[in-house]
Structures are given as structure tokens and as C-alpha cells.
């Protein structure tokens, strides 16, 4: 299994395939086919397509069984609600812990301490919030402070409807806190000015990207780093630049088993391994290839040149006291975000 530590080349995978076939032929126990469902959020589609293939090979090698991983993608909150209302997910891989918390608080599908079950707060890969600007950076945008200048149009989805966009809001708040003399009042004032410059509040990240890229609205798109790189890769590097601010937030999209469902489906072992394997060098490498920041230091070193360095990355737990508190303070009804729009 450690063979996977190296980057698979043709010979190696050929040898592996032969090994898998020989095991399948030689082993007396009949190989079974198991199916699991991974309910994830929008931009992970291509990442998990590749990861599922690698995991199928790994699981065949380990257990002799064939595993078919079905994927479901959509807005993070909507996906969580589907699982609460009965979508039979074996594992969930969502954009923020708040949405997985809901599986525990709204439906008791998972234990409340789910985030302690896997390393790094159950977050095998991370990202951060960066700026996507038009080629050549005509509005000279380099840090959060530039976003509140008059005449700068900022595109970001509504944090009320987009889980991913809550990270954007908190990153802005975090930068303001870290400025000389920064406090809650000055941070609130800063985000108020920032959202004054937002001409369109899309309901999700994909919509915001379309508004910025296709409609040509705004001068800067606040985006997850992996989505910004994907946009540049798909649309061509001659159209957009990625700007890393001085302070941002470590976006942690966590993963969890859905205990009640795996026990019903008798898929706990394979689902557990599915999540564990995300932390393996192979899983980390695939994540990095899809522009997520890997946790594994060796893989991180390998891909170090791919990511811009951001001097200070705040964490949701360290700077905001966890999601439950952040949600109540900022995004619930009458929270700081509602106050911005005069409620």
C-alpha cells in the first residue's frame, strides 16, 4: 500500500494492476461489490472523481472488494439538508463544519464530537480566500484595505445563502481586526464599507464567478483559492490574476462519516477507510493537484510553488471561537451581516 507514496508511473500502476488481478484470482473468498455515497459541495466534483478511482484501486488491494463511490454535489447547506431529510450519504465532505454540525444538532445522525474523530479537525485538505482580479490588476488591488476604495466593485456571494462565502466575510473581518487599533467595532465598520462596494449578491459561489467572469461586473472576486486557480486554468491565464492578501482565513472544508447511515448499510469499514485515505500521500497529492492545500508536509513541500504565501492565516477556532459562535454572531438573524443592510 505504501507503494502509493510515490507518484504512480506507468510501470508501477501496471505492476499494481497485475497484483490486484492476481489477488482477485488467487483469493478464495468471493469478492463483493460495495457502494458508498459521498455527499459533497459544488467545486469538489473533479477532485473526487479522480480520488474515487485511486481509492477503488486501494480498497481492492486492501480488502479484495470492489467499491463504487457515487457522488452528489450541490451547495453545502442544501446538501446537508438533503442528508438530514433522508439522503442516504455514507460520508459527507462539505464546505464548512457548521453544515456538518447540523447533522448532529438537527437529526442526530452523527455524534456531536464528530470533528475530533479524524486528524486536523477532520479536515484533510484546506484552502484560503484570495482575490481574483482582471489581468494586469488595473485597479491596483493588493490587500483588503483596497477593496473599500470608491469605484472598486467587489463580487462575493451572500454569506446568508452561501456557506463558502462565510469564509470570505470572516477573512475580511479578520484582516480588519489585525490592523493597528482593530476591534469588533472597526471590523464591523470595515465590512460595512466592503459590502457597500458589492453591486450584486449572488446566492452561490458559482453564480458570483459567472457574474465576475462572464458578465464583466466588478473589479475583484473574493474566491476560494482552489476555485480561483480552477477559474484561471479553465479561462486562460491571460484574463485574470490571483492576488494574495496579507491576512486571510484558513478555509477548512471538513469530512465525516454519517454513522446512522453506514451502520444501516454495513459500510462503516469502507467509509472509514475512504476518509482516512484522504490523509495518505496519494490522497493528499490528488487534493493538491486540484489546488487544495495539503496537510501532509512532504506533499505540501512538493507543491509549495503552486500556492502564493499569505503571511497570516487565521483559523475559525482561533480567531472566531468556532463555527457555532461565528454563525450566531455574524450570520444568524440580527447578526452583524444583517446590521450592514440596516436590520
Amino acid at each position: 500500500m505504501r507503494l502509493f507514496a510515490q507518484r504512480p508511473c506507468a510501470i508501477l500502476s501496471g505492476a499494481l494492476l497485475a497484483f490486484v488481478v492476481s489477488i482477485a484470482v488467487a483469493s478464495p473468498a468471493p469478492a463483493a461489490t460495495v457502494k458508498i455515497l459521498n455527499v459533497s459541495y459544488d467545486p469538489t466534483r473533479e477532485f473526487y472523481e479522480e480520488y474515487n478511482k485511486a481509492f477503488a484501486v486501494h480498497w481492492k488491494l486492501k480488502s479484495g472488494d470492489t467499491v463504487i463511490v457515487n457522488q452528489s454535489h450541490g451547495g453545502s447547506g442544501k446538501q446537508a439538508r438533503s442528508v438530514i431529510e433522508g439522503l442516504e450519504a455514507d460520508v459527507v465532505t462539505l464546505a464548512l463544519a457548521y453544515d456538518i454540525d447540523a447533522l448532529a444538532t438537527q437529526a442526530a445522525l452523527i455524534p456531536p464530537n464528530w470533528q475530533q474523530r479524524l486528524p486536523y479537525n477532520s479536515t484533510p485538505y484546506t484552502s484560503t480566500i484570495v482575490f481574483l482580479v482582471r489581468k494586469g490588476n488595473p485597479k491596483n488591488i493588493h490587500d483588503w484595505g483596497d477593496l473599500i476604495r470608491t469605484g472598486v466593485g467587489v463580487i462575493t456571494p451572500s454569506p446568508k445563502t452561501s456557506g463558502g462565502a462565510r469564509w470570505n466575510y470572516l477573512a475580511a473581518w479578520g484582516w480588519a481586526l489585525k490592523q493597528p487599533g482593530g476591534n469588533a467595532a472597526s471590523a464591523e465598520e470595515f465590512v460595512r464599507k466592503l459590502y457597500k462596494n458589492v453591486p450584486v449578491l449572488d446566492s452561490g459561489a458559482r453564480g458570483a464567478t459567472t457574474t465576475f467572469v462572464e458578465r464583466g461586473i466588478g473589479d475583484v472576486l473574493l474566491a476560494w483559492e482552489n476555485e480561483a486557480y480552477l477559474a484561471v486554468k479553465e479561462l486562460g491565464p491571460n484574463k485574470f490574476d490571483i492576488i494574495a492578501p496579507s491576512v486571510s482565513i484558513l478555509a477548512e472544508p471538513p469530512v465525516s462519516l454519517v454513522d446512522q447511515n453506514v451502520d444501516e448499510h454495513h459500510t462503516r469499514a469502507v467509509a472509514e477507510e475512504y476518509l482516512q485515505y484522504l490523509y495518505s500521500p496519494e490522497g493528499q497529492d490528488i487534493a493538491a493537484r486540484h489546488f487544495y492545500r495539503p496537510r501532509d508536509t512532504a506533499v505540501a513541500a512538493k507543491y509549495a510553488n503552486q500556492f502564493q504565501s499569505i503571511p497570516l492565516l487565521l483559523t475559525i477556532d482561533g480567531a472566531f471561537g468556532g463555527w457555532t459562535k461565528a454563525q450566531a454572531t455574524h450570520f444568524a438573524d440580527h447578526g452583524t451581516f444583517d446590521k450592514i443592510y440596516g436590520q
Binding site: G77, K78, R81, A102, T105, Q106, S158, K160, T161, G163, P199, V200, L201, D202, S203, G207, T210, E214, R215, G216, I217, Q327, F331, A332, D333, D338, Y341, G342, Q343
Partner: protein, 277 residues
């Protein structure tokens, strides 16, 4: 004396009524009663707090106001489209007739993306409108445009069969009796069309009130300005506030029902009045 039930041509009133009640209950009443029950899940206080919030009121005003405007626009221009398609023959008539159905058949998200692409400041039409100081995409105007778009087939398709039934001789008779063109239209044609126009209006309006997919892309979604009520329902759900979401849904349900009831009353008044003449 034994009273004999009046004989019907087709028997089975009891069976069909029973079937109707079961069918309506399963499809309509049971899901809607779930909205009622859920909206009061956390008590009257929460319900009132949700539905009386300024942002919710603003979104309800916008949703119902924009839907009324859009249905009114369709009332006028849908009539013209139906008239042309029924009364005249011209090349590619069948094709144009089929195009009318497109807004109905298209996935709403596709409609929203297409409209936004056209009306955005860098779009085909948006680029022309921009120098005139008119912005459509990401404003309330954009919402009306999207709702008019999706409502059009309802008006045209409701009016077509009625127009088809309307004899041309009636118009000729009116003319021979000395009525002017305007009089013929206002006193002869319009009264015959009123019930169908109201039905089309009601259908277009009802569709527009509940519309989410196409509006969300073109609206801009700014709180208090261009945020429709269905978006606020989604917003509440995003916070796992099921009771709050159902509360807004319930208000929309009751308002829609009242409007429909009003339109139905108007319609039966219009058709009796027409029938008496």
C-alpha cells in the same frame, strides 16, 4: 314517493368525487398542511417576528408587485401575440407558434442565465441600453423582465383557443351595424375574451410569484432592494430555520390564494355578464 336521482350520461359520480378528493389531498392538501404545521413549529412569537421583519415585507412587496406588473404586461402583449397567430397566416407561423412555448419548456436556470447574459452591461442588449441610462440586469427591472418572459406562454396558450372560436362574422356584423374599429374591439371582442384573459393573467401571475430559478441570476439579490421572497425562504433554510422558512411560505400561500380567489370571482362575474348579453 321516491325521488329518483337525475340520470347522468356517464355514471359514477361517487367514484370520481372520491377519487378527486383523495388525489387532491395527496397532491395538494397534505403537503400544504405540512407548511402550516411547520410554520408554527416554534410558536406564534417566532412566526410573527419572521413575517413582520422589514426585509421579509420588502421581499413580499417585490415578489407580488413584480409578478402583477409582469402579468399585466403579458395581458396586453400576450393578446397581440395570440391575435396574430390565430388571425393571420404568414411564413414560419408554425415555427413562431412553437417559440411561444420555449419559456415554459426551458429549465428556469437556463432562462435566468440567458436573460442575464443578454441584459448585463456587457451583453447584446445591455450594452445598448447602458448609454441610455437603463440598467436591466441586477435591478428590479430585471426581475420584471424575467417574470414577463416565463409568463408569456400561459397568456398566449389560454387565449388562442378562445380567439379561434370567435367568429369573424361577429366583427363584420358589428362593422355593418356602424361600429368603429375601436368600438368593435372594446364592445364586441374584448368582452368575449375577458374570462380567458383573466385565466391567463392568473396563471402567469401564479407562476411568477413562485419563480426562483430564473430570477435569482438577474435580480442582484440586494436586501431590501432586489431580493425576492423565495430567496428569503432559501436563506432561512440555509440557517436550518425550518419554521422561519415555512412562515414566509405560509404568507405567500395565503396571499396567492387570496389573489387567485379574487381573480376567480372577477372571472365568473365577467363570464356571466358576457353570457347575459
Amino acid at each position: 314517493m321516491v325521488t329518483v336521482a337525475p340520470r347522468r350520461v356517464l355514471p359514477g359520480f361517487g367514484l370520481t368525487l372520491g377519487y378527486t378528493m383523495v388525489y387532491l389531498s395527496l397532491l395538494v392538501l397534505i403537503p400544504l398542511s405540512a407548511v402550516f404545521i411547520r410554520s408554527f413549529g416554534s410558536g406564534w412569537g417566532h412566526f410573527w417576528e419572521v413575517v413582520s421583519a422589514p426585509r421579509v415585507l420588502a421581499s413580499l412587496r417585490l415578489s407580488f408587485g413584480a409578478s402583477l406588473i409582469a402579468a399585466s404586461i403579458n395581458l396586453c402583449f400576450g393578446l397581440i401575440v395570440a391575435w396574430v397567430l390565430i388571425r393571420y397566416s404568414f411564413p414560419f407561423k408554425r415555427l413562431i407558434d412553437a417559440i411561444v412555448d420555449l419559456p415554459f419548456a426551458l429549465p428556469t436556470a437556463v432562462a435566468g442565465i440567458a436573460l442575464t447574459a443578454v441584459y448585463a452591461p456587457n451583453g447584446w442588449l445591455g450594452a445598448w441600453l447602458k448609454p441610455l441610462g437603463i440598467t436591466v440586469a441586477f435591478t428590479r427591472l430585471g426581475i420584471v423582465v424575467a417574470l414577463t418572459f416565463i409568463g408569456l406562454p400561459f397568456m398566449v396558450r389560454t387565449l388562442q383557443p378562445v380567439l379561434d372560436d370567435l367568429d369573424k362574422e361577429v366583427e363584420q356584423a358589428a362593422a355593418s351595424l356602424g361600429a368603429s374599429a375601436a368600438q368593435t374591439f372594446l364592445r364586441v371582442i374584448l368582452p368575449a375574451l375577458w374570462p380567458a384573459m383573466l385565466t391567463g393573467f392568473a396563471l402567469a401571475f401564479a407562476r411568477a410569484v413562485g419563480e426562483y430559478g430564473s430570477v435569482i441570476f438577474i435580480a442582484g439579490n440586494m436586501p431590501m432592494k432586489s431580493e425576492i421572497a423565495p430567496l428569503l425562504i432559501v436563506t432561512k433554510l440555509e440557517q436550518y430555520d425550518y419554521a422561519g422558512a415555512s412562515a414566509i411560505a405560509l404568507v405567500m400561500l395565503v396571499l396567492s390564494f387570496l389573489v387567485m380567489l379574487g381573480i376567480n370571482a372577477l372571472q365568473s362575474w365577467a363570464s356571466t355578464r358576457h353570457g347575459e348579453r
